[in-house]
């Protein structure tokens, strides 16, 4: 009996889950994004108790659970910790593949930030290489105001 039923046309219910969201980044992170948008500056936040510098910002210290309220200015330059190159596409990706994504430790920060790496031959990617931020012309106070990080060219 069960087999006879299974041989018939399979039935499906199709649809979507479509939902809009409005996420508050909070007071401290608002300041962080406004600095990027208005001054092309990537800031970190500093724990007043243990002095750790966190970027992207969090208003609670990841080490001592203390409240953090202030930004500290960073240079926008950093070091590549690790990376990967995306070769496949899906509906949710912000860039067309292939593109490189890196974990970057900004100078003066104790944590690292993930972002795209641009203006680079993928073969030249190497942990430890120096990178600097490149900003978009139009900026909307979100993380994509940073276009990508690119290798720092040694002068001369």
């Amino acid at each position: 009996m069960a087999n006879e039923v299974v041989k018939k046309e399979p039935m499906f219910t199709e649809g979507y889950v479509i939902m809009p969201y409005k996420y508050s980044v909070g007071t401290l992170a608002s300041k962080f994004f406004i600095e990027i948008r208005d001054h092309k500056k990537i800031n970190g936040v500093k724990c007043p108790k243990c002095n750790i510098v966190i970027v992207p910002p969090r208003s609670v210290c990841i080490k001592c659970f203390n409240k953090i309220e202030d930004l500290v200015e960073l240079s926008g330059k950093g070091t590549l910790v690790t990376y990967t190159v995306a070769h496949y596409d899906s509906a949710v990706q912000a860039m067309k593949p292939p593109y490189a994504i890196g974990v970057i430790k900004l100078d003066g920060a104790d944590t690292a930030i993930t972002h795209f790496i641009g203006e680079v031959d993928f073969k030249e990617l190497k942990a430890g290489m120096k990178l600097e931020a490149v900003f978009n012309e139009t900026r909307n106070a979100n993380i994509l105001d940073i276009k990508y990080f690119k290798p720092v060219k040694n002068k001369g």
Partner: protein, 388 residues
């Protein structure tokens, strides 16, 4: 290898409709800081963290992972609960299992929600079976509207009783600084509110709030050292109910609901024969105005058909002989992921005598707190301020 479990720290944010200055993690951090301060502990004294909220309400999955630094869970054990409306009580119950089993000595339990960020009703609608009844549901309230309508038909409960419940809740919430909707309403005000889902008007349904509530649970030996007024979790029960297109309603009034099952278990196991005398207050998860009358009956606190009559007599008021939701309840404050945690927290405050202006007039030794949601599921907890 079991130990008794007490609530030794209680923290709750104020609840509101919007809180744009803070992100979700910062709201949670406020509740945790308050709970730790109440217990006079620091995060270092916590060994296990359990967090719960509603899926898809804020638009990110695995938000326990995203919020880890704010919850203080790094390097500690713990997990995320996800049982829908009962999540706030299920995380307390999970905390109980962790501590009772001696797996943990001090567990931090967090319930939270930031309703202003996503389409709540749409998100809840995704819990329903897409082939059979998702098209016919409007979030959480449509099912409650059906249950209310059927209860009114079955028991003869008039629409005004819903308005009495809400007016009473508004007076309670006005006394509770943590509540969201704190305006006082008369029965007339409630009766004339805009219709949302017949028979429920805007004032007869719970609001969408944001806020967080945290509790610190500790094992017996530690509890007495930490807090002079530990509140003991005496017992708890959970019951699920299958609902394929609300098919259980075909036998409504004849079959056991999840409330009936949990009520019976708790009263039998604890030899409670006159629950409204032996228990002095009930913080009920009451998401619409007809939950109190219908569920007083279903929990087995009174006879079928009597729930609404008790409410008419003022029994469930803050000064009444069996106060229900003296905090203002879910009808005035509903950050879903924290709603049932708040029920437990508020029942515990009543037991400690620390509820302030909304403390009930009756002396409280034993209290009930419930969670409700998922799909007509119930958690019921029995709390007391002594172990006698």
């Amino acid at each position: 290898m079991t130990q008794r479990v007490a609530i030794v720290g209680i923290g709750q944010t104020n609840h509101s409709g919007r809180r744009p200055y803070h992100n979700d993690g910062e709201v949670i951090y406020d509740a945790i800081s308050a709970a730790l301060a109440d217990a006079q502990l620091s995060i270092k004294d916590i060994d296990n963290v359990i967090i719960g909220d509603m899926e898809l309400f804020e638009g990110h999955s695995l938000n326990d992972a995203m919020l880890l630094d704010y919850t203080g869970a790094e390097g500690r054990s713990g997990f995320k609960m996800n049982t829908g409306g009962t999540v706030g009580s299920m995380n307390v119950i999970s905390g109980w299992y962790n501590v009772a089993s001696e797996f943990s000595d001090t567990t931090l339990v967090i319930g939270w929600e930031k309703h202003d960020e996503g389409p709540t009703t749409s998100a809840i609608t995704t819990i329903w079976d897409p082939a059979i009844n998702r098209p016919f549901e409007v979030g959480a309230i449509s099912g409650l509207a059906m249950i209310s309508n059927a209860y009114m038909t079955r028991s003869g409960c008039p629409l005004e009783v819903g308005a009495i419940v809400r007016a009473q809740a508004s007076d309670n919430a006005a006394r509770n600084p943590k509540a969201h909707l704190r305006e006082r309403y008369t029965v007339q005000d409630v009766m004339s509110a805009r219709m949302v889902l017949y028979p429920l008007n805007l004032l007869m349904i719970c609001p969408t709030s944001l806020g967080a509530c945290a509790l610190v649970l500790a094992g017996e030996k530690k509890a007495r050292k930490i807090n002079k007024k530990p509140v003991w979790i005496r017992d708890h029960a959970t019951a699920h109910q299958v609902t394929r297109g609300m098919d259980f309603m075909a036998e409504a009034g004849k079959i056991d609901t999840s409330m009936t099952v949990t009520g019976r278990k708790i009263f039998q196991r604890n030899h409670i024969t006159k629950p409204m005398e032996e228990i002095q207050v009930f913080e009920m998860y009451d998401p619409c105005a007809f939950c109190q009358p219908a569920w007083l009956e279903e929990f087995g606190l009174c006879e079928a058909g009597q729930g609404w009559r008790l409410i008419e007599k003022g029994v469930t008021a803050r000064e009444g002989s069996f106060p229900v939701s003296p905090s203002g309840g879910t009808l005035c404050t509903n950050a879903i992921g924290d709603t049932a945690t708040v029920r437990v927290a508020e029942a515990a405050l009543q037991l400690r005598g620390d509820a302030g202006e909304h403390q009930v007039t009756r002396e409280v030794k034993m209290a009930l707190a419930s969670g409700y949601g998922g799909m007509y599921w119930t958690d019921l907890l029995l709390l007391s301020n002594t172990l006698d």
